[in-house]
Symmetry: C2
Subunit: 245 residues, 2 copies
Amino acid sequence: MTQNIYDDPEFFAGYSRLPRSLHGLAGAPEWPALRALLPRPSGLRIVDLGCGFGWFCRWARAEGAAQVLGIDISERMLERAGAEPKDEAIVYERADLNRLELPEGGFDLAYSSLALHYVEDLERLFATVRRSLVPGARFVFSIEHPIYMAPRRPGWIADRRGGKSWPVDSYQMEGARRSDWIGAGVVKYHRTLGTTLNRLIRQGFVIRHVEEFGPSDEQVAQQAELAEERERPMFLLVAADRAGP
Amino acid sequence: MTQNIYDDPEFFAGYSRLPRSLHGLAGAPEWPALRALLPRPSGLRIVDLGCGFGWFCRWARAEGAAQVLGIDISERMLERAGAEPKDEAIVYERADLNRLELPEGGFDLAYSSLALHYVEDLERLFATVRRSLVPGARFVFSIEHPIYMAPRRPGWIADRRGGKSWPVDSYQMEGARRSDWIGAGVVKYHRTLGTTLNRLIRQGFVIRHVEEFGPSDEQVAQQAELAEERERPMFLLVAADRAGP
């Protein structure tokens, strides 16, 4: 049974106060980098895996997407997403990404922001996404970076030079990690970067871009607390295309 | 001017005592994983970038390679390689990988073991390798992993559980790193994993496999000191194919 922490009232309240919950895409520092990997949404049929409050779904529609399917396991998040002004071309569906079924060749773009690290059987999901895309279609996703996820007890330490370091351990030990994000025992699945890419390749994707997100100088100037994100990558961004038929 | 630390007498003496120098491929724990990424050498024209003592060149010939070109910047290493029993199908050439020129379409396989982190302009080298390969040919290389290379002062620390951690900092700050490997100020070039892969892709390669080397249970059973390599990856292994013409 997949953990559905987002429907826990306290977790949900905490999550709702994050900048990316309050301000949407503009509150996510990695969004400009992720956006750069996307094709123009105009006319596309798009699926968003782990759509949360639906910020991306609404953005894609505003950019001319023909149709957007937002998938999430959290009832509360979908409720909030559905409370936005009605748009017939956005459909929200409650589903567990570990058991997801999608229509074959039903989409021109698959997108996922910070959801795939909750998925235990990533290879099954990649196979499902591949079948759901038309040949040549793009799959863009972000995920917590394995450097960020690997340690059994993640956290910064002061280094010898008065700077910060991020101690890495257990990198090769893939599997569940329980973290105390927003005060709750959130279960995520650590995989090496190689494993994530090789599963994509094996399931018929061609890797187009791999980005280990770090903030730009401009972002650090505007938001000093982002500086630590340069010491170790927090997010992994990947763009891959479905190979030919 | 590229640093040629291998021709420093003290460094050379120290390097010559490493297991991989004394025992060749069998002394390199990552060799079985690297070998698994190679096509059968039989009948192939092969270039080895940073061939050192020529262990791989001789292995490839023993496996039936038609012709092997071994490139290295170190005169001492090539001398040692050339002192082995003569094989007309192996040619050693002294060259700086930062300025390397190779014949167009001259090779069916390019290989490099732990040399590319000495190369400042990796994109130029990738372009050179691409042109030197026939369409569809494979490029297999190992390189020090960016997690290993990023820290300004690399080293293990004891963690809170009596285990070991590898503190990462400066991951996003690409460029030169001076390390004290074998007692010398060795200059290497840190790049994020994403940068290395994206440069390959941009220069016309299709990524086939990305492996962040960790020892097998069997290897740890035989050589207990390898256990720490599971805490963070030391080597990155990549297989890519030259895209069509």
